[in-house]
Every structure is written in structure tokens, then in C-alpha cells.
């Protein structure tokens, strides 16, 4: 069996809450789906918004939710923010997204190389699994990895505006952070999203 590099991600320079803030600051109609756990807390820490759909379960489903939303709303930019563990559970959805070629969809992984909600155990990326490599091989036209602030600054306009589907893997520090919880009632999350976007529940 391979060895995980369990300490490596503790010194990554990018902090996930800062990255969420950078992505969502002045968001102008951006539709956001967040994978369960830390990413749901991250987007909420950046400012709860009715056009956030943070998951509390459905692990592996965030990118496919983003695809359905992107196909339904081609005039809106859709951003999926999810963790490495959640992405690993739904790798097939990258191939599904690539076929649909949704230009308005970006999938961003906050990759701390840990399962954060279950005790910070190493994920497959700690053993070297290459998520942007999977996305590229699945047919995403725009893929990349971000390791530092310079990389993030350069990638932001691509994530938010470039014709996609876009996939970026952002290496973020493994750290314990305060919970910042969105509403957990699914019907409330769904209804407020549709009310804000469509004017009806």
C-alpha cells in the first residue's frame, strides 16, 4: 500500500474561508452549490445567500446538482464548490458534465486532502490522486490546480467568467475552523433559492 503524506496539507498557504470569500465577493447573480461539510460552512461564512444551495447530505451529488442547474439556467453562472472527499465520491459526474459541455458551469474543489467532518482522515488526494487530471481526462476543456494566492488571482476570472465547463482544484490548508451553519431544513433551502431566482417556490 502507498503512504499518505498526512502532514503536507497542514502548511498549504491558501485558507479555505479566504478562498470562498474571494470567489463569492460581489457575486452578481452567481448560483452556488456547495458540497456537504466544510464547503457548506465556507460559503455560509462568506455570507449566507438565498442563491446558495449548501448540502447537508447527498454526498457525491454536488457537481450533478450544478449541472442540472446550469442546463436549466444557461444565462446564469453556476459555481459548484465542493471538497476532495465529496468529489471523489462522484467522479463519474465529471464525465457526465463534460458530455453536456455546459459553458456556464464551474466546479471548484477545496482540496485539503482530508475527510474533515469525520476526523480529518487522509483522502485519496493525500496519496496523490490527481483531481484536475481526472477532470481533464473526462473531457473538461478548462482545468487547473491552484496552490497559492498568485494562482488564485489568475484563475478567478476563469472560474467566474470563462466558457466552461471549468474545473479547478484548489489546494487549501488542513485546519479546524468554527462551524458557520446555513439553514439545515432542505425545503427552506430549496424554496428560498427558487423564490430568489424564479420568483416562486
Amino acid at each position: 500500500m502507498m503512504d499518505a503524506d498526512e502532514k503536507r496539507s497542514e502548511t498549504y498557504p491558501l485558507r479555505r474561508r479566504d478562498v470562498a470569500q474571494a470567489l463569492l465577493h460581489g457575486r452578481r447573480g452567481l448560483l452556488v452549490v456547495a458540497g456537504l461539510g466544510s464547503c457548506a460552512w465556507d460559503i455560509t461564512a462568506a455570507g449566507d445567500d438565498p442563491l446558495n444551495f449548501p448540502l447537508w447530505g447527498a454526498m457525491g451529488g454536488a457537481p450533478a446538482i450544478g449541472l442540472g442547474l446550469a442546463l436549466a439556467r444557461p444565462e446564469n453562472r453556476v459555481l459548484v464548490i465542493t471538497g476532495d472527499g465529496e468529489m471523489l465520491m462522484g467522479l463519474g459526474s465529471l464525465a457526465t458534465i463534460a458530455i453536456q459541455a455546459a459553458k456556464n458551469l464551474a466546479v471548484v474543489v477545496f482540496d485539503n486532502e482530508r475527510y474533515g467532518e469525520t476526523g480529518m482522515q487522509p483522502t485519496h488526494t493525500a496519496y496523490g490522486a490527481d483531481l484536475p487530471g481526472v477532470a481533464k481526462a473526462s473531457g473538461f476543456p478548462v482545468t487547473g490546480q491552484i496552490d497559492d494566492q498568485g494562482g488564485l488571482d489568475a484563475a478567478l476570472p476563469v472560474i467566474l467568467e470563462a466558457p466552461g465547463p471549468v474545473f479547478f482544484n484548489i489546494k487549501v490548508r488542513a485546519e479546524d475552523l468554527d462551524f458557520v451553519l446555513p439553514p439545515k431544513e432542505g425545503v427552506i433551502l430549496k424554496d428560498r433559492f427558487r423564490q430568489a431566482l424564479l420568483g416562486e417556490t
Binding site: 448560483l31 452549490v33 444551495f53 448540502l55 447537508w56 447530505g57 447527498a58 454526498m59 457525491g60 451529488g61 454536488a62 457537481p63 450533478a64 446538482i65 450544478g66 449541472l67 442540472g68 442547474l69 446550469a70 442546463l71 436549466a72 439556467r73 446564469n76 462522484g90 463519474g92 459526474s93 464525465a95 457526465t96 458530455i99 453536456q100 432542505g186 425545503v187 433551502l189 430549496k190 433559492f193 427558487r194 431566482l197 424564479l198
Partner: protein, 170 residues
């Protein structure tokens, strides 16, 4: 076979369905072909059925209706993802072609087939059954109306005799 496919497609379009998610299946073969040929719907090829449950949740968030096509074995792949539809009360319409009941050649398909109703009921679905070609379109239209009017979750089970018989060359 599958002479009901055209009627089902028109019933789905009439019900406002715009996204058709599917894992390829012999029983749905003709319907899937129509969905890929007709620009009134977006046909979405999945790698596993649970992606379709998530996809259609996203579609609904964006104001579009959808349907998920699968065979009964796919139910097992969806169980956890069904909690998304149930917790958030997303409408979810599924057309499920049955395996393991009519001239089934492959015993590995029997387990999900035999337990399809039980699993779907446990997951909170209403169930419609269509066993004759003439009953399929009405069952789908009825299910679609209920699903989208009431944010419901309904599976229409299509009996295996509605699909071509697969004999593995035997």
C-alpha cells in the same frame, strides 16, 4: 417492441419535462433515442443513476422539470441520493424498467427487481405499475401530473414483458 415510447415522450413533453436523465437500458432504448433526437428536451447520459437524482434536483432549482430513466437494478445505486429528494421535497419522476420478472435470463438482476417496490416504498416513493403496452402512456402522464403538481416522488414500474427479451444468444 417499445411502441409506447413515442406516446411516453409526448406525455413527458406535455408535462413540461425538459431534462431527461438516463443510464442506457434495453427497455428504454427507443425512448432514449427519441430524447436524443428531439430538441425539446436535453438528454443527459449518466454514469450512475444517483447522478440523475442530483441532476434533477438542480434542474428544479433552476425552474426546469425532468425525468430519470433507469432499470430496476439502478434503484440500489440511488438509495442515499434519494434522501436529497425526500428531505428537500424535490419532485422526482422515475420510469423504471423491471428486471428479474419476465423471462429473466440473468439471476444477478433478480435481487433488485424482486425488491424494487419494497425499496422504493421505503425511500418514500409512490408507485405506479404498467404491465401492458396500452397502459404505459396513461400511467406516465398521471404520475407526471402528480409529481409536479404536488412536489411528489413517483416511480412508474414498467413490466419486463414490455421490453425486448434478452437471451444472451441462448
Amino acid at each position: 417492441m417499445s411502441e409506447w415510447a413515442e406516446g411516453v415522450f409526448e406525455a413527458l413533453v406535455s408535462a413540461g419535462v425538459r431534462q431527461v436523465a438516463y443510464v442506457p437500458d434495453m427497455g428504454h432504448k427507443r425512448l432514449i433515442e427519441i430524447c436524443n433526437e428531439d430538441a425539446r428536451v436535453k438528454a443527459v447520459l449518466l454514469t450512475t443513476e444517483e447522478e440523475g437524482v442530483a441532476l434533477l434536483a438542480g434542474a428544479w432549482l433552476g425552474g426546469e422539470r425532468g425525468v430519470l430513466l433507469m432499470q430496476s437494478s439502478g434503484i440500489g445505486n440511488c438509495i442515499n441520493m434519494f434522501s436529497l429528494a425526500r428531505e428537500c421535497e424535490f419532485p422526482l419522476l422515475m420510469l423504471v424498467t423491471m428486471r428479474g420478472q419476465w423471462h429473466e435470463f440473468n439471476p444477478w438482476q433478480k435481487h433488485l427487481g424482486q425488491n424494487a417496490k419494497k425499496l422504493l416504498t421505503t425511500a418514500g416513493f409512490d408507485i405506479e405499475v404498467a404491465s401492458e403496452p396500452g397502459a404505459v402512456v396513461a400511467a406516465v402522464a398521471e404520475a407526471a401530473e402528480g409529481v409536479f403538481k404536488n412536489n411528489g416522488r413517483t416511480a412508474v414500474l414498467l413490466h419486463q414483458k414490455l421490453a425486448p427479451k434478452k437471451t444472451f444468444g441462448k
